[in-house]
């Protein structure tokens, strides 16, 4: 049946309508995709996660760096050894002499231009430093290690680079390996797709991709690996749209900053800028041919070609990249061959560069969140100068994991649960947090125990009580307290009757012994005599934010405090009675290097320096004669340290807090579910602390004896004045207010003449004046 003209026209109109509708739909789809992709592209160009830097290394005459240590430090910063130091980021060494040229770096307070620094070392220290004009350089600051950035929640981290910071080798290599028609195609390379399809068909598996760099960029934006036809079409269309809107240079730059290049725990390493830091520990601009080739090799599959796990496989691919670069005349044949002889040169994650410090970065983030919006931190390209000392951080991580492994192995009762631990390290005089480990897997980005685990601190409270006692003026280190039964009727009618850990009574003991041996009953007696209000106020004065409840159980540490808060509390002791707010950030500058904020050093006197000194001398005796004694086997005998153990009830928490001349460290060990560990402060946390203190070569606690105090020698057990000459046993030196009369051990009564002697001294002075 022949169709009527009318029907034909209707059909035609219908087809036309459908076609028109389809066309409109297509256009709408294109407009829609265009919106998405341009927004994504424009947006990405401007979001720069804040970069966080470690504390910079200061070089000066007298600094305890031998040539070997100095070279190690330079390598850690990714400096390259050369025959002659000329390029920024390079150094040369002849025996004890090191030349270096630093990198240009914008500090918060000054711009450091690259210059030649010639350093003479002798033995273990820097003897002199001169610059290129042969002038003496008293102090020089090296560019700091980039330790991470504050990236958005979905875990993408990157260090954005500008085209000027990229070696021309990189785009050239990317083109020859990934997309030879990049300069001419308009988003999609059909030839490459056909070629790839043919290769894959013959191989029966996906061996080659035909995606252009632009398509890869689109794919990366949307983190979608589905290989459906619709997806492919969408991708191709978006790639074309990008090519319409932006020039090749912009696209290449976006690719270099966008592409996924590795995984580090929760953190996804994006872009070549961060990848260069992550794999080589140095800026992208300083990479050599073999290193550029390695990064380009990784692009194809960061997990399959993980250079830290599949060295052989990655090496083969790197050499293929080098061959292609030579074949397409990006480099000459000889250079490629030379580069292929080089090792991969990837730094271990353990060597600091490329390491990741989630606990510390979390503290930085929280510090800044008070002043900045989340978006400012993740997008505005801020540069944050932190207080982290990477060397001490790595020692703290090592000390904790090694001791925890040892303790877990020694467990009698095998549990599925592993012990957890925290280490917080500060510089007591300026309150800078120089290291922080939030768990046995330091790189695990999760619950930050250092800040959020509020646990019972046990005997760590004792120094605060003793300080409150000494401050009253009624007690000193040789004052006698009774270590005997205690019964306190509580408000709820119950009777509180604590015990010593040994469940024994020690009778009349001097304060210094009660503290050193951590005697509970003596401490409760003392605390009750001093009064709970005075004691709980002392906690607040020393820096605890919340006032503890005025309950007698507080005297034995029934007080939930985080390791960082403990560090704040003990920092006041280590700092001689001055409190300084702990800080992890020194300064923040904006993307242009303009200073936005600095966290200046502040000190506040919070306790009588004389009283603090007396307690600190008792804390030294904790290490010499008390519960901290085991540390002495680890730490060199000439290094004076002070500290206190803490064990909570049922051995749920093992604590140690202590300090030397330049370092304070707090260690906590326990289970996350708060079940008993069977560990005391001495058996759990103390070994971590001692190991750390030994490994960082700490200095002696050497605060000067304040005026108005004098040293006395007493028997540790009895508190009686004595000296070796009169048969005194187990003697300790304490500090007491000048003129304090101490009862003497029989046979040591020379001090009966004490008062007379003192008068003689006054008389003598009056004569000679």
């Amino acid at each position: 049946m022949a169709l009527t003209r009318k029907t034909k026209r209707t059909i035609l109109a219908g087809v036309g309508l459908v076609m028109g509708g389809l066309l409109i739909a297509l256009l709408a789809w294109i407009v829609y995709l265009d919106r998405i992709i341009t927004a994504q592209f424009e947006g990405r160009r401007w979001t720069l996660p804040a970069q966080v830097f470690a504390e910079p290394l200061e070089l000066y005459a007298g600094q305890s760096f031998g040539a070997d240590t100095l070279e190690q430090e330079l390598k850690r910063l990714g400096y390259r050894r050369a025959d002659k130091a000329e390029a920024p980021g390079s150094y040369s060494r002849r025996g004890a002499h090191v030349d270096l040229v630093n990198r240009r770096f914008q500090f918060w307070d000054a711009l450091q231009e690259p210059q030649l620094i010639s350093i003479d070392t002798r033995g273990n220290s820097i003897e002199s430093m001169r610059n290129g004009r042969n002038e003496d350089v008293p102090i020089f600051r090296l560019d700091p290690l980039l330790i991470g950035s504050i990236f958005p929640i979905h875990g993408e981290d990157r260090v954005v680079v500008t085209p000027a910071e990229v070696s021309p080798l990189l785009p050239a290599a990317l083109k020859v390996v990934e997309d030879r028609k990049f300069d001419s195609h308009s988003g999609v390379d059909f030839g490459a797709i056909a070629r790839a399809a043919w290769v894959n068909l013959r191989a029966g598996q996906i061996e080659q991709g035909g995606s252009t760099l632009t398509q890869q960029l689109v794919k990366s934006y949307f983190l979608d690996n589905r290989r459906t036809l619709g997806r492919k079409l969408e991708e191709a269309m978006m790639a074309w749209l990008l090519e319409v809107h932006f020039d090749k240079q912009d696209l290449m730059n976006a690719y270099i900053n966008e592409i996924y290049l590795g995984q580090d725990g929760n953190r996804a390493v994006h872009g070549f800028g961060l990848a260069s830091q992550f794999y080589f520990g140095k800026p992208l601009a300083e990479l050599q041919l073999h290193e550029v080739a390695l990064l380009v090799a990784i692009v194809r599959g960061p997990s399959y070609y993980d250079p830290r796990r599949h060295e052989e496989r990655v090496r083969a691919r790197r050499d293929l990249v080098l061959k292609l670069m030579a074949q397409y005349k990006v480099v000459d044949e000889r250079a490629a061959k030379e580069a292929a002889k080089r090792p991969l040169g990837v730094v271990n994650t353990g060597t600091l560069a490329g390491s990741y410090y989630p606990a510390f970065l979390d503290l930085v983030r929280r510090t800044l969140r008070r002043d900045y919006r989340e978006e400012d931190l993740t997008e505005a390209g801020l540069k944050i100068f932190s207080t982290l000392n990477p060397l001490i951080q790595s020692q703290a991580e090592k000390a904790l994991t090694q001791e925890l492994e040892r303790l877990d192995k020694a467990r009698k009762r095998k549990t599925a649960q592993l012990l957890e631990g925290v280490v917080v390290v500060t510089a007591p005089q300026n309150g800078e947090v120089i290291a922080m480990v939030g768990g046995r897997q330091a790189s695990f980005d999760g619950f930050n125990r250092a800040l959020d685990a509020k646990r019972s601190i046990g005997s760590l409270v004792k120094p605060v009580i003793y300080l409150a006692a000494v401050e009253t003026g009624r007690y000193h280190a040789a004052s006698i307290v009774e270590d005997g039964p205690v019964e306190v009727k509580l408000a709820n009618g119950k009777v509180w009757a604590p015990q010593n850990i040994s469940e024994e009574y020690y009778g009349q003991v001097p304060l210094v012994r009660a503290l050193a041996q951590s005697l509970n009953l003596a401490t409760v007696h003392l605390g009750l005599e001093v009064g709970l209000p005075k004691v709980t106020n002392e906690f607040v004065a020393l820096g605890l934010e919340r006032q503890p409840p005025q309950l007698p159980s507080v005297l034995l540490g029934a007080l939930d405090v985080s390791p960082l808060e403990v560090a704040q509390l003990y920092n006041a002791f280590a700092n001689g009675g001055f409190s300084t707010p702990l800080r992890a950030v020194r300064a923040v500058v904006d993307a242009e290097g303009k200073p936005l904020k600095s966290f200046a050093l502040e000190v506040t006197p919070v306790a009588d320096p004389q009283a603090v000194y007396q307690v600190n001398r008792m804390l030294v005796q904790v290490m010499e004669h008390g519960s901290g004694q085991a540390a002495r086997a680890q730490i060199p005998p000439e290094i004076v340290v002070a500290g206190k153990t803490g064990t909570s009830s049922d051995y749920r928490d093992s604590w140690f807090a202590g300090f030397s001349g330049n370092t304070l460290a707090v260690v906590w060990i326990g289970y996350d579910d708060n079940s008993p560990t069977g560990l005391t402060g001495s058996s759990g946390s103390l070994p971590v602390w001692s190991r750390l203190m030994r490994s960082i070569g700490t200095t002696s606690w050497s605060a000067p004896l304040p005026e108005g105090l004098e040293e006395k020698s007493i028997e540790f057990m009895t508190g009686l004045a004595a000296n070796p000459g009169c048969g005194g046993e187990n003697l300790v030196t304490i500090a007491v207010p000048s003129g304090t009369q101490l009862p003497a051990k029989s046979g040591c009564e020379t001090s009966v003449f004490g008062e007379l002697g003192e008068r003689a001294r006054e008389w003598w002075r009056s004569v000679v004046r």
């Binding site: 300026n430 050093l601 506040t604 005026e707 020698s713 000296n723 070796p724 020379t750």
Partner: protein, 176 residues
């Protein structure tokens, strides 16, 4: 009798010295050439009995004035230039760099306090002064500067009585 009183005193003094002879692990023994104030010979009392050791005059506290290391000196110099151009935050940051190298040097705390003072942060200026005082044991010159800083910070806040007291302490240390 006066003479026997003297002898008794000497005896007691020497016994006291013996009692104090136990070595203290916390302070390096001072180099002997730094000991000062040896009493003139003519005031020495009469001969003690031969059974008792010759008593040494009780040592006056050893004066140990702090000095700045070369690196700190350079940084403090830099800070002073920065203060002159009213760049207080940067000046403070220079001194903080020096403090990381020599945290126990009271002179640096005094310098930092001076920056706080010109900045108008009088409370911190005073606190830095107090920190410096606590560190300058047996260093009258450093302690005098620290009290001077405290006095200045009081004066700036109009606390004249406290300022006078602090100034008096500074002056007396300077004279001594």
């Amino acid at each position: 009798m006066k003479r026997s009183q003297q002898r008794l005193a000497l005896l007691a003094a020497s016994a006291l010295l013996a009692a104090c002879a136990a070595p203290s692990p916390y302070e390096k023994p001072a180099p002997p050439e730094q000991q000062t104030e040896t009493p003139p010979a003519e005031t020495r009392p009469g001969e003690p009995p031969s059974t008792v050791e010759e008593p040494q005059p009780l040592p006056a506290p050893v004066v140990r004035e702090p000095t700045l290391g070369a690196a700190s000196r350079a940084l403090v110099g830099q800070a002073q230039t920065q203060v002159a151009t009213k760049n207080y935050a940067v000046a403070a940051s220079s001194i903080e760099r020096a403090l990381r190298i020599e945290p126990d040097n009271p002179l640096l705390w005094i310098e930092l306090g001076k920056v706080r003072l010109v900045e108008g942060n009088y409370v911190q200026a005073e606190n830095m002064g107090r920190k410096a005082v606590s560190m300058s044991v047996n260093a009258p010159r450093a302690q005098s500067s620290a009290w001077k800083l405290i006095a200045d910070s009081y004066r700036a806040r109009g606390k004249n009585i406290e300022a006078q007291e602090a100034q008096a302490r500074s002056d007396s240390l300077n004279r001594g």
